[in-house]
């Protein structure tokens, strides 16, 4: 009576193995780029945005007739999978994209943690992977040759703000930092602590909050108790909406309040309303910028216009990052004149890509080091660039009420 069950198991296993083995489509004629995305789960807001960036690039690319390689034109096919905001699944999908879908190149999963995990697979197979949204130096410390990051190091966000703050007012002495207990926000918070200490500021409060926190009032009340001059909160948009709202509830004020990542998003300004006033933030891209570029888009403003036409809203930095890694990969392939991974990797390494996102070159670890992410301040619900001088649209103001 039991042996029948065994037969069934053996049959099912055999069937499964053969079904899995049958999923092996042949090589396509076009250039295939794989992109694991977090379309469901906690990171789905970001995943959706990244996808919009990729798709805008692809659409413009197809209008322009594809990528020019060695006298011919090749179409690009993007292969998406949803990794459900689950890092192991992102890694699994990266491997699937390489082995099973036979993609030529990879765009990384969202954020630092998943990019780091997926870079192991890309390195294993020698597939160049462009990390659209990884900014923690820890991602790039493994000596990998196939990982190229669009974002500059987290310290390039903290340093300019710390400079601005100390130059603006010598009275600002006491810093409070509240960070989400997660790879990127923690790494960012550590950079802010370093930048502050390097300038002789006193870090009077440094605490972490758990992922999924629904109430910041206790931490904020404590911050109020230490009377800081500069408050730094790191986290994602939902954390920062809630934290800003509760700061207002508790009438917690300070000359400078910096929040990353959030205020550069339009949704953040909409959701916080009047409370957005004078919040400082930094990010690698903003639609107020205007770079002339030699890519598909021609200039930042043209990119913004095309984006608005397609999606009806201004692009934020995540959306722009998706399109930016697209144009960088395109330029590298065109320079190499082929889709040969070694040739493209070599071209990526040479850098000097003039894109709507800025001039992109990669440092020795693969992390971009060729541009300075601007610092912004929300003034009258508008995002003003307050640093660097060259692209400035407003003056840094003190006082957050």
């Amino acid at each position: 009576m039991r042996s029948k069950g065994l037969g069934v198991v053996a049959f099912v296993v055999a069937a499964a193995v053969s079904v899995i083995a049958a999923f092996n489509p042949g090589l396509a004629q076009t250039i295939k780029v794989g992109a694991p995305l977090p379309l469901t789960g906690p990171l789905s807001p970001e995943g959706t945005k990244l996808r919009q960036g990729y798709e805008l690039w692809l659409e413009e690319l197809n209008k322009a007739g594809g990528i020019r390689t060695a006298g011919s034109r090749a179409n690009v096919e993007l292969v998406f999978y949803d990794y459900q905001s689950n890092t192991p699944r992102a890694v699994q999908l990266a491997e699937k994209l390489i082995v099973d879908d036979k993609v030529d190149f990879l765009f990384s999963p969202f954020g630092s943690g998943a990019a780091k995990a997926a870079s192991v697979v890309a390195e294993k197979y020698g597939v160049p992977m462009l990390a659209s949204t990884a900014s923690s130096a820890e991602v790039f410390d493994q000596g990998y040759k196939n990982l190229f990051g669009l974002y500059t190091d987290n310290s390039t966000l903290s340093e300019p703000i710390a400079d601005l703050v100390t130059k603006k007012s010598p009275d600002i002495r006491r810093v409070a930092i509240l960070a989400r207990n997660d790879l990127y926000p923690m790494s960012l918070a550590n950079e802010f602590e370093k930048s502050a200490k390097a300038r002789g500021l006193q870090v009077v409060f440094f605490e972490k909050y758990a992922i999924g926190t629904m109430d910041h009032s206790a931490a904020l009340t404590q911050i109020q108790g230490v009377r800081p001059d500069w408050i730094v909160v790191t986290g994602y948009i939902n954390d920062l909406i809630l934290a800003r709202k509760q700061m207002g509830d508790l009438r917690l004020t300070a000359p400078v309040v910096t929040m990353i990542n959030g205020p550069a998003y339009n949704e953040w300004i909409e959701a916080t309303g009047a409370l957005s006033e004078n919040i400082t933030t930094a990010s690698w891209f903003h639609p107020v910028l205007n770079y002339q570029s030699k890519d598909l888009f021609g200039s930042t403003q043209n990119f913004v216009r095309l984006f608005k036409d397609k999606y009806g809203s201004e692009p934020d930095f995540t959306q722009a990052s998706g399109a930016a890694v697209g144009v960088i990969l395109q330029q590298a392939i065109e320079r190499a004149g082929s889709t040969d991974r070694d040739a493209v990797r070599a071209e990526l390494g040479k850098g000097n890509f003039e894109t709507f996102f800025g001039l992109i070159s990669f440092g020795p670890t693969g992390m971009a080091n060729s541009y300075v992410p601007p610092v912004y301040q929300i003034q009258d619900r508008q995002v003003k660039v307050i640093y660097p001088e060259a692209v400035k649209t407003g003056e840094f103001r003190l006082g957050v009420r």
Binding site: M1, V9, V13, A16, V17, L39, N86, T87, K124, Y125
Partner: protein
């Protein structure tokens, strides 16, 4: 029920399985190997959950807790300088002790109370790992040493590891199924009080089933951590590690030896099918499947395959 045919059958299963796995290792590409690895991981978790959840009827949601515990215990032991093989065995020991202790604490609870208590254990462990930064790296995660094989060899090595675990879980489940312990667990599932009144040491039986389930979940977590070589608390304590084995066991047939294996195969197949074809709605489709399963096939696929066969227990009474 006598010894010899069982031995022959066990050998036959092992032979078939080893052959199939060897074929995948030789013929499959790395993605197929990865799928097979995931399959064995799933099967290990489903088989071990089935001991406490299926046989004894205690709705345990502690799988993720022990999976995460195993992953981090492995990380900590290896960080302390132990080689991975020793660390894995150490993890199994740790999981056994923790499982026995936890079982002692929560197995007197029943129904919803047991379910919640077992669920909360995972939350508590995750929070501890999150806050014990000096040992675990906290929210920044933890890197494990890579095993110095080539990429292809690594993939096959871990497939082999999980296969060994799944096979062990299967054989243990089979052994328990045929021994008085399995019978006792079924009696507990049907009527806890009556079993105790007849002299059954229900506490021992439940604790044994729970502890064995915890050992396998912990070992799975340990091998998993070595496999992915980067773990963070939200990933390894993900409640889905508790929920998926339950769905697999339900899918295949709860409280049977082969059910969880069938469930793992079918579940993995469906998962693959869904996210290939439904980019943004695969979760909803999976949900629909779960709902249909519960409504129309509560006894699982195993039941479909065994209709009309003589059953000594669990006949169509309900």
């Amino acid at each position: 029920m006598s010894g010899r045919p069982a031995v022959v059958q066990d050998a036959a299963i092992a032979l078939i399985a080893v052959t199939a796995v060897a074929a995948v290792a030789v013929l499959g590409d790395n993605y197929v190997v990865r799928l097979a690895t995931t399959l064995f991981l799933y099967a290990s978790l489903a088989l071990s959950w089935n001991l406490i959840g299926g046989y004894a009827g205690y709705p345990s949601f502690a799988t993720a807790a022990f999976f995460g515990l195993g992953a981090y215990a492995n990380g900590v032991l290896q960080a302390a300088g132990l080689p991975f093989a020793v660390a894995w065995i150490g993890v199994a020991g740790i999981a056994a002790v923790c499982g026995a202790l936890l079982g002692f604490c929560i197995l007197h609870l029943r129904g919803h109370y047991f379910a919640i208590a077992s669920l909360v254990v995972g939350d508590v462990l995750r929070e501890i790992v999150n806050s014990w930064t000096s040992l675990t790296g906290g929210g920044m995660g933890m890197n494990l040493p890579l095993i110095a094989f080539s990429a292809d060899m690594q993939a096959r090595f871990f497939m082999g590891g999980f296969f060994g675990l799944a096979l062990a879980a299967f054989l243990v489940a089979r052994l328990i199924d045929r021994r008085p312990l399995g019978f006792t667990l079924r009696c507990i599932e049907q009527n806890d009080t009556a079993a105790a009144m007849l002299g059954a040491d229900t506490r021992f039986a439940k604790s044994a089933a729970f502890t064995i389930a915890c050992i396998f979940a912990g070992a799975a977590g340990a091998i998993y951590a070595s496999w992915v070589s980067y773990i963070d608390p939200t990933d390894v304590f993900d409640v889905l590690y508790s929920v998926k084995p339950i769905i697999m066991a339900l899918l295949g047939g709860i409280g049977t030896v082969t059910g969880p294996v069938i469930g793992a195969v079918v579940f993995l197949g469906l998962e693959e099918l869904f996210w290939r074809n439904f980019l943004e709605t695969h979760e909803g489709v999976l949900g629909l499947l779960v709902v249909l399963l519960v409504l129309f096939l509560p006894d699982g696929i195993h039941r479909l395959l065994t209709i009309g066969r003589h059953r000594t227990w669990r006949a169509a009474a309900s």
